[in-house]
C-alpha cells in the first residue's frame, strides 16, 4: 500500500514535469520515465501483459518517435515557446481540468461493489482455445474481431504516414541513413544487442500462448531491434515501394481475415475456430500477424520516405 501510494505520487510528479518542462527534449525524457513507471504500476495491478506492452511500446518506441521529432524541431520550438496563452485562459483551463479530475476521482470512489467482470466468460472461452494466457485468448478468440481491425488500423496509419511523403521522394527510403560509429562502440553494442533482442522478442511472442506476452509485445521488440540496427548503421531501410515489403505488411491481416472467413465453413461463423484445431489456427494467424506488426511499427517509427535509392 505504501509502495503503491509512493509509485502513484511519482507517476503524477513525472506527468507534471512532462507538462511543465520548458525544453521539449526534457519533456520527452519525462514522458519516457512516465511510461517506465506506468509499467511498474501495471505489474502492481496484476496485468503483466499490459506492463510488457507499456514498457516496449508506450514508453520505448513512442519515446523514440517523439524524441526524433523534438530534436528536428528544436530550434523552431524555442521561438514558439514565447507565445504562451494569457493568464486568464490558463486559469480557466486549470479550473476546467480540476473539475474533470475531481469528477473522475469521484467516479473511481463510487465504483460499484461487487465490481462487474467478464472474467468468467473469458475463462469459459479460454478452455475452448487451448491457450493458457487469458489475455491472449481474449485477443485471439473472444474479441478476435478487435484484434483483426487493429492490425488494419496500423496499416491505415502507415498509409496515412506515407501519403505525407514529399513528391520527389515518393516510393523512396524512409528516414536518414545512419553511418557507422566513428570508434565502433555503437556498432559493437548493436551487433551484440540485436541478436539477443531478436531472441527475446521471439521468446516473448512464443510464451504469449501460456504466459504473459504475445504478438504485439514480441513484434514491438523485433521492430525496436531493427531500428537499433539502423541507428548503428548496420542495415538500411528498403525503399517503401518494394513488393516484398508490402507483402510482409499485408500478410498478417490477410491471413487473419482468410482464416476468419474460413470460420464460416469450419465452425459456426466469422472468426470462429473449430474446437479441435483452435490452437493450431491461432498460431497460424499469430506468426504472420507478428511479422506484419513488427514491419508496420518499424516503418511507422522510420517516418515518411525522405530520399531516393541512388542518393
Amino acid at each position: 500500500m505504501v509502495f503503491d501510494i509512493g509509485l502513484a505520487l511519482l507517476i503524477v510528479a513525472v506527468a507534471v514535469w512532462t507538462i511543465a518542462a520548458r525544453d521539449t527534449f526534457a519533456a520527452v525524457i519525462g514522458f519516457v520515465a512516465f511510461g517506465l513507471l506506468l509499467a511498474l504500476a501495471w505489474v502492481r495491478l496484476a496485468a503483466p501483459d499490459v506492463a510488457l506492452t507499456e514498457a516496449a511500446l508506450g514508453s520505448g518506441v513512442t519515446g523514440v518517435v517523439l524524441l526524433g521529432a523534438s530534436t528536428r524541431l528544436r530550434h523552431a520550438e524555442i521561438s514558439a515557446a514565447d507565445k504562451k496563452p494569457g493568464a486568464m485562459l490558463r486559469a480557466a483551463a486549470a479550473v476546467l481540468c480540476t473539475v474533470v479530475s475531481a469528477g473522475l476521482a469521484a467516479i473511481v470512489l463510487v465504483l460499484p461493489h461487487p465490481a462487474p467482470t467478464l472474467a468468467p466468460q473469458a475463462a469459459a472461452n479460454m478452455a475452448a482455445t487451448g491457450l493458457g494466457n487469458p489475455v491472449t485468448a481474449v485477443l485471439m478468440a473472444y474479441r478476435a474481431i478487435d484484434t483483426l481491425l487493429e492490425t488494419v488500423v496500423l496499416l491505415l496509419a502507415l498509409l496515412g504516414l506515407w501519403s505525407l511523403t514529399p513528391d520527389p521522394f515518393w516510393g523512396g527510403l524512409p528516414g536518414r541513413r545512419h553511418h557507422d560509429d566513428p570508434d565502433g562502440v555503437l556498432t559493437f553494442a548493436a551487433q551484440l544487442l540485436v541478436p539477443v533482442g531478436i531472441l527475446v522478442g521471439i521468446h516473448i511472442f512464443w510464451v504469449g500462448s501460456v504466459a504473459p506476452g504475445g504478438e504485439f509485445q514480441g513484434a514491438t521488440i523485433l521492430a525496436a531491434m531493427w531500428i537499433l540496427a539502423a541507428m548503428a548503421g548496420l542495415v538500411d531501410a528498403p525503399p517503401v515501394s518494394r513488393r516484398w515489403l508490402r507483402l510482409i505488411l499485408v500478410a498478417g491481416p490477410a491471413v487473419f481475415f482468410t482464416i476468419g472467413l474460413a470460420g464460416f465453413a469450419m465452425a459456426d461463423g466469422f472468426l470462429a475456430y473449430p474446437e479441435s484445431h483452435a490452437k493450431l489456427l491461432i498460431v497460424m494467424i499469430e506468426v504472420p500477424v507478428t511479422l506484419s506488426i513488427a514491419a508496420t511499427l518499424a516503418l511507422l517509427v522510420a517516418g515518411p520516405p525522405e530520399r531516393m535509392p541512388q542518393q
Binding site: L57, T62, L66, A69, L73, R90, C97, T147
Partner: protein, 102 residues
C-alpha cells in the same frame, strides 16, 4: 481504500493534467505529449477496473486488459501519424504551432 483505488485516483489526476497541457501548450509536439498523458490516465483507469474485476482465478479481468493492449498500439499509431503531420507542417510552413498570426 484498496490498492486499485490509489491508481484510480492517480489516473484521474493524469487525465486532468494531460487535458491542461493539451489546452495551454501552443506547440503541437507538446500537445501530442499531453494527449499521450491523457491516454496513459485512461488506460490506467481501465487497469483499475480490470483489477477490481478479478475473478475466475485471474488476477484481473482479462477483457479490459486486452482492450488496453489494443489501445496502446492504436495510441502509438496515432502518435506516429501526428508526428509525421507535424513534421510535414514544419517543412511546408516553418511553423510548429497552429497559429497563423505567428
Amino acid at each position: 481504500m484498496s490498492d486499485a483505488t490509489v491508481y484510480g485516483l492517480c489516473s484521474a489526476v493524469l487525465v486532468g493534467l494531460g487535458l491542461f497541457g493539451l489546452i495551454v501548450h501552443p506547440e503541437l509536439l507538446r500537445k501530442i505529449l499531453a494527449f499521450n498523458l491523457i491516454g496513459g490516465g485512461v488506460f490506467l483507469l481501465f487497469g483499475v477496473v480490470a483489477r477490481r474485476g478479478a475473478a475466475a482465478g485471474f488476477g484481473g479481468d482479462p477483457v479490459p486488459q486486452a482492450l488496453v493492449i489494443t489501445g496502446l498500439v492504436v495510441a502509438f499509431a496515432a502518435t506516429a501519424l501526428a508526428v509525421a503531420l507535424l513534421r510535414r507542417l514544419f517543412q511546408e510552413t516553418g511553423r510548429t504551432t497552429l497559429r497563423s498570426d505567428g
